[in-house]
Amino acid sequence: MSLDPAARSGYADHPPRMGFFTDTSVCIGCKACEVACKEWNGVPEDGLELTGMSYDNTQSLGASTWRHVAFIEQIDHPGQPRWLMASDVCKHCTEAGCLDVCPTGALLRTEFGTVVVQDDVCNGCGNCVAACPFGVIGRRETDGGAHKCTLCYDRIGDGLTPACAKACPTESIQFGPLDELRDRAQARLETLHEAGVAGAQLYGEDPGNGIGGAGAFFLLLDEPEVYGLPPDPVVTTRDLPRMWRHVASAAAALAAAALISGLGGRA
């Protein structure tokens, strides 16, 4: 599958695809990404609930949380106690379910290959929410619209770094041309494997995966589901052609059934 979604979305001459590489092995769980994102994008506060989920009171990505730091306590981890931290974000899929199903064109592929919501277009139908295999996008109660990470579309258009990546104290969040990030991630993975960090793995970067490769991918230290990520997501629209065929034959069957029902002559 092509890693150049911008070209397939009508951008003949476009800049390189941009993305995030989130290296969770150096995340210190400070949540600067969450705050910097909200400050820049004006995302509202998202509830004041103590969850008991370690230091994670944000809980998940959603309409009012575009970066979410997960905390996983593994004090019994063989070798050394671990406290995993990972900053999750919209994956900006090559094949984006939210974008595919959006009926209004509010969701948009940008020239950078990222996926954004046009707030002035969105009518809050909620279809994207159900279509995202990562549970990223949500509909905000207060304004009825769908919202998610824009990869700071406004900033990157001016050559600026997205707010979260800029704030990140340890460069756990890296922003750049996707090709470059992929090389960097491979190198980092090899370093970790050489250092004997079992379980280190890249998540989402494989163009052969079910979303055609993510524009925002991760280096994880454990299995994806430990972080609340789906282990092998497949974009729902891959099955849509088949669904349409079944819908067509079902509709035809209904028409036929109606015709058959009328057999037996006039009353």
């Binding site: 009508g10 400070c30 600067a32 064109g105 046009q118 700071c152 406004d154 900033r155 001016d158 800029k166």
Partner: protein, 187 residues
């Protein structure tokens, strides 16, 4: 006109342009086409320092129409390299958020609620209070030794203040004879 309006209809753009499926170029709104970071329009960028902890991360304060519109890390800093922690990243909310008070509030002795008070009046009253407490707590000698000081009033705070502010506070209060001048460093 009508023609052109019709051509902006995304369906029309789908039909006439390369984005047949309506997932990119064809569906862009006018607002999306004109998107720009709000700091692009800043009148000035002011160099600053984060007000929270003592790492001293450098900040850039963006101002438009005499309002602070954004605060970010300054990549030039050899201390912080442009990065900020969650608190530093919340500097905009700290300085421009709803929690800030902008009016003097006054509670009279035995009062049950706040009252309004003019800043100038408040400053004048405080000056009077200082003079009076200073007088009441004055000690010329202790144990036969000259001390020329007052225990009548005290001050606490200064670890989040500027050096210049602390300097004036120390200078003024010491000259007034106050010695109970303290800050967070003891706490």
């Amino acid at each position: 006109m009508a023609d052109r309006a019709w051509l902006r209809w995304p369906v029309a753009r789908q039909l006439t342009g390369p984005d047949k499926l309506g997932r990119g170029a064809a569906t862009r709104s006018r607002r999306t086409d004109s998107i720009a970071p709000r700091i692009r329009g800043a009148d000035r960028v002011v160099k600053s320092v984060c007000p929270y902890c003592a790492v001293g991360c450098a900040q850039q304060v963006y101002v438009r129409d005499e309002q602070v519109i954004q605060i970010e890390g300054d990549p030039d800093s050899p201390v912080s390299r442009g990065r900020l922690c969650p608190k530093g990243s919340a500097s905009l909310q700290l300085t421009t958020g709803a929690a800030r008070e902008y009016r003097v509030r006054y509670r009279r002795p035995f009062g049950t609620d706040w009252e309004d008070l003019d800043l100038e009046a408040a400053m004048d009253m405080i000056a009077d209070r200082v003079i009076e407490s200073r007088r009441k707590g004055w000690q010329q000698e202790v144990d036969g030794k000259p001390v020329r000081r007052t225990l009548g009033f005290a001050s606490l705070g200064g670890a989040t203040l500027d050096n210049e502010e602390n300097y004036l506070i120390k200078k003024l209060f010491t000259a007034l004879g106050a010695i109970q001048i303290e800050n967070q460093a003891r706490i």
